[in-house]
Amino acid sequence: MTIYGVALLALAFILGQWVGVLLGDWLGIQANVGGVGFAMIFLMLGKEWLVQKNRMSPAMTEGIAFWSKMYIPVVIAMAASLNVKSAVSSGSLALIAGIIPVMAGFLIFPWIMKKFNRPPHG
């Protein structure tokens, strides 16, 4: 059943966001700390568990796969709902402080990959 897949995704989403909010509360900040990340991990664990129990049907996978394919359209809708005008017109500092660190990030990225991407014990 397709809905089982959608429901699994939705359950993982809610649980993950909940953990993120609880973690934020516990750290004393008004923010969700890694809710989406936790949700992704829950979804992967749930899927893994169902695959092992032989309960993961193709229809269920489809129920999740549909939403993962909707990802790019959602991003386009998000881009269209951003305050792009104020971002590009709020002065030189906004543009500079928004762009320069991104460039620095691109520059530092290969260095971090070289320096830290090693297996922990070898």
Binding site: L9, A10, A12, F13, G16, Q17, G20, G24, L27, I29, Q30, A31, V33, G34, G35, V36, G37, A39, M40, I41, L43, M44, L45, T61, A65, W67, S68, Y71, I72, P73, V74, I76, A77, M78, A79, S81, L82, N83, V84, K85, A87, S90, G91, S92, L93, A94, I96, A97, G98, I99, I100, P101, V102, A104, G105, I108, F109, I112, F116, N117
Partner: protein
């Protein structure tokens, strides 16, 4: 015609699907014909989305791009945080848990380095622009992290509303910059593997920008980038108004 408009406003989200489908047709067409498939259709479409967001701001003077026009309100629902996060989580379907576990510490290192890099570069640039009080510097540095860390930090340290608005604008510029430059720079900086996507998400942080940029680069990388980027805003909200602010008050 009035009846149709009324119907569309009532079923905004559904009309949103039509709008985005239409944007995608144009994006795909431009990709094939104008860029000879060198720039992927999704990247062109995301850029077109930004253009719509800009036009919406020009027409309505609002803050939510095209979705401030009541006809396009559904685009705002589709592009809101609920659907964004839901679909990002769904991309984990194709991700490999073992890979994420293995690259976890690389993700953590890049996360911390990314936040430090963006915050202090933001502070440095604000300083160069003549800003000298710790609260404003801190808020602008936080805005250079993400457009959520900025206002949360600003409220916590008592920055003025102009500075908070500026920090949001900086964060949005960052999101747009990451969205546009990621597919362009991906090959040059070696962004092609799940591990590198995790490190990239950690350094850049802005979930929207990272996910959009990776989607335009290679959709398979999205879940790996998102899994680290999603911690960035939270950790930023943790460090900016506390430790980083204390450091700044030592100097200003």
């Amino acid at each position: 015609m009035d009846k149709l408009l009324e119907l569309i406003e009532k079923n905004g989200l559904i009309f949103g699907f039509v709008v985005i489908g239409f944007v995608f047709i144009i994006g795909d067409f431009l990709s094939k014909n104008l860029f000879r498939s060198k720039v992927p259709g999704s990247a062109v479409s995301i850029f077109l989305g930004l253009v719509l967001g800009y036009l919406g701001g020009v027409w309505t003077e609002g803050e939510k791009g095209i979705s401030d026009l009541s006809l396009f309100a559904g685009v705002g629902i589709l592009g809101g945080s609920m659907f964004r996060d839901f679909t990002i989580v769904a991309t984990a379907l194709g991700a490999n848990l073992e890979l994420i576990r293995k690259a976890g510490w690389l993700g953590l290192v890049s996360l911390l380095m990314g936040i430090v890099l963006f915050f202090f570069l933001g502070v440095g640039l604000a300083f160069a622009w003549g800003i000298r009080d710790a609260a404003s510097l801190c808020t602008i540095g936080a805005g250079a992290c993400t457009y959520i860390v900025g206002p949360i930090t600003g409220a916590a340290v008592g920055a003025s509303s102009e500075v908070i608005a500026l920090s949001i604008a900086i964060g949005v510029v960052k999101t747009i910059a990451v969205t546009i430059f990621t597919p362009i720079a991906a090959k040059k900086i070696g962004l092609y593997s799940p591990e590198s996507a995790m490190a990239f998400g950690g350094i850049m942080g802005t979930s929207s920008g990272v996910a959009a940029g990776l989607a335009a680069t290679d959709p398979k990388l999205v879940p790996y980038g998102a899994v680290t980027a999603t911690f960035y805003t939270g950790v930023g909200c943790l460090l900016c108004p506390s430790l980083f602010y204390l450091i700044l008050t030592l100097f200003f």
